[in-house]
Symmetry: C2
Subunit: 498 residues, 2 copies
Amino acid sequence: MSEKLNQLNEILGEVSDLNHAGSVLGWDEQVNMPPGGSDARGRQLATLGKIAHEKATSQEVGKLLDELKYEFAGSDSDEAALVRVAARNYDKTMRVPASFVAEQAIAASKAFEAWVEAKSKSDFSIFRPHLEKVVDLVKKYVSFFPPSDHPYDILLDDFEPGLKTAEVQEIFGNLRPKQVELINAIKLARQVGDDFLHKKYNEKKLWDFSEKIIAKFGYDFSRGRQDKAPHPFETSFSVNDVRITNRFEAGSPIATIFSAMHESGHAMYEQGINPAYERTPLENGTSLAVHESQSRMWENLVGRSLPFCEHFFPELKKAFPSQLDGVTAKSFYKGINKVLPSLIRVNADEATYNLHIMLRLEIEIGMADGGIAVKDLPEIWNTKMQEYLGVTPPNDAKGVLQDVHWSGGMVGYFSTYALGNIISAQLWEAINQDIRDLDDQIRKGSFDQLLGWLREKIHVHGHKYDPQDLVQKVTGERIDSAAYVRYLTRKYSDIYGL
Amino acid sequence: MSEKLNQLNEILGEVSDLNHAGSVLGWDEQVNMPPGGSDARGRQLATLGKIAHEKATSQEVGKLLDELKYEFAGSDSDEAALVRVAARNYDKTMRVPASFVAEQAIAASKAFEAWVEAKSKSDFSIFRPHLEKVVDLVKKYVSFFPPSDHPYDILLDDFEPGLKTAEVQEIFGNLRPKQVELINAIKLARQVGDDFLHKKYNEKKLWDFSEKIIAKFGYDFSRGRQDKAPHPFETSFSVNDVRITNRFEAGSPIATIFSAMHESGHAMYEQGINPAYERTPLENGTSLAVHESQSRMWENLVGRSLPFCEHFFPELKKAFPSQLDGVTAKSFYKGINKVLPSLIRVNADEATYNLHIMLRLEIEIGMADGGIAVKDLPEIWNTKMQEYLGVTPPNDAKGVLQDVHWSGGMVGYFSTYALGNIISAQLWEAINQDIRDLDDQIRKGSFDQLLGWLREKIHVHGHKYDPQDLVQKVTGERIDSAAYVRYLTRKYSDIYGL
């Protein structure tokens, strides 16, 4: 390896260490920290972030990258990918003045506070001026980059490197009518029962059950752990220390199991990344969408499948005989897949989820290119909800104010959730080509081959490839919704007898 | 505040943030980390340490301190103390070459491994060459500093700023014959019973009980927490996030309660430091000995006192009626204070503990000045054990190999444990001068005035004063064992009817 690459790796290794230290502090903040610790923790995280930023944007890094870019141009090696990704990160960071980052952080902090209040009072007017400021800053952020086909491209690229707005619009454009059609057909069908989901379950027993399932999936507890936190998330301190959090909601107790599946999907991805990529810019997953394809696959394509229900339901019933009295694997399967167009994205079922995302994407694109004014958001939101899902929010708290993302300045993020669903179905078809008896394996509770496939085709590559390239490499096609439509149609035809 | 002091505080604030981040990572390593996380954690800690060291030893800091030293010379203000302590730390760090620190870290890591093996095989010869290397490096470390009265002064100063070897020798010299005399008197007395200590206790119940006690002491759980770890320790991430760990040993279950008292003593100290000292070199306790005076006071002078037993024993008995059947507050008090000269320091009672320390101090001084050769340690150890405690280790695992400290290069540390005991008794006499009904208050479970006294006289000052100065300021005398001898004599005369 060249001496210059060694030098680069040494600096970026320290940046990685600092970022991972920050992740430990962030995890602790959510999982353990006593209330008093909050101020000092904020300062500590700020210092770690500042030093990491100084190191990542040092002149030395710029000089090394300038030279290494030529040395490794045109190669498909890991080293070339490392240099390419590092150069891209460096370029992005250098374009954005530190003063702007600080301004954005302050605006986001104020917008978050306003959003909390606005949501609790269901009063969009409280949030509106802050969101206008956030949108102004988003436009300013875009202005630091060379012009692209669409200003939203710049925002999307931070989460899905290389992906274009027009591509996402085309993917979603193909999907939307089919998904609306499916929902309309389901509306005419006989509804399935899910009373058992709303009974009382013992928290500790469900928690242990969730850990048993994800251990069986292949989540390695010797390199991870599950803790309680206000929201489920996955966080990684190294390939060999990848943790997840979960929660218990009395109103929706079984969700604990599916949250564990979801987060373990993220975590198994991170646990499967090539250890040689540690402390380099390749050490994390490809993109948010590809990450989400893994979490959704384990939660939905595995966890909410009939074969898996046939495998795990008998044991669940043994643990909760009274709650599941009269329920069969099949009726459990139907109940956990019940479709009901509703107001809140995070509670949406598979059939309706993507429509929540499409609505948000259209609004984000409009905010970025000026086609939509912040003041009109509540009306636009409600109109689109009626159009896509046939429901209208009774208030803004259950409408345009429901998600935290925009208050934090995160515009460009939402579509990755739907893209993850779409990619998961594409991968699923490819997997079933290679593992012909996958359903039988799942029915027997055997996940080795499935995880092995994902490890080899997706996980090990870390951040080496861009999302479109990786999907193309693995499935032979670019991101496309056809497989997802086939998956949804097959699944819900069975459940609703369409 | 001067512009230069602001600049200094900004840099030292970042050093503090980095060190605290390291503490979070270290705590997590002991409390939560899955086994796989260990390698990456080591690298992350090394990077944080390296950057903190670079910042703390930067030319800029040196220049600022040179100028500020003159500006604040002779003042007793907080700012002057800050500059004085910062300058001392800087001077110490700059004297020791980074290459030496690295060499010492590697030697310590190897010595630790050898010590683990040597202890498990009870074979000193495995440890001997490593300890010789450690001692050589200790001597080399001393050589970086200007000559002092005794080479051991340099080592002691890292833990007890300003304290001299001769002072400690004098303090211990006065104490030793009296402590030996006391033990000999106890040997002739009728032994007390402690069978109840060795029964089976429910872990969760004892744990909760321990938390109830320390919350009553004044340990603030909104700014701290107690977790399980292989060894009890206290660690501080800020004045408002001070955590302790504890363990449960089936063979010595009640120890959980006393460990909690001990660590809460350290933690209440850190929780009581002036918040204005945060992110400065004054933000921690005065010294290890003063720290230990707090932990020992809550564990022994409060926790193992008759008034406290009278307060808390009835509740303990309610929680464990079968285990404590036939035991009274008084017989409980006697049992937990049973004196029995034994081989292992960490299990020693109050009457014998300091003798274990004196033996170690003499050996450390001899190693530092060349008067004692490493090869002779087992023999010297066993001879002194017989002389001081009347017992002889059956093997080196229970003798010279029992403690981890030397394997980590920590020479100069041991005496702080005994000094802590001594200081705790001096403070106790001063407290009882000011709070005349302290025993009654303790008997009622009221600790507000006691903690308030400690907060005002000790805690709030953080690292502002050196240990001798602080003890002098609070008690009117320098560190001296007379109060401790009075305390031990009174306590054991009562228990053993001397």
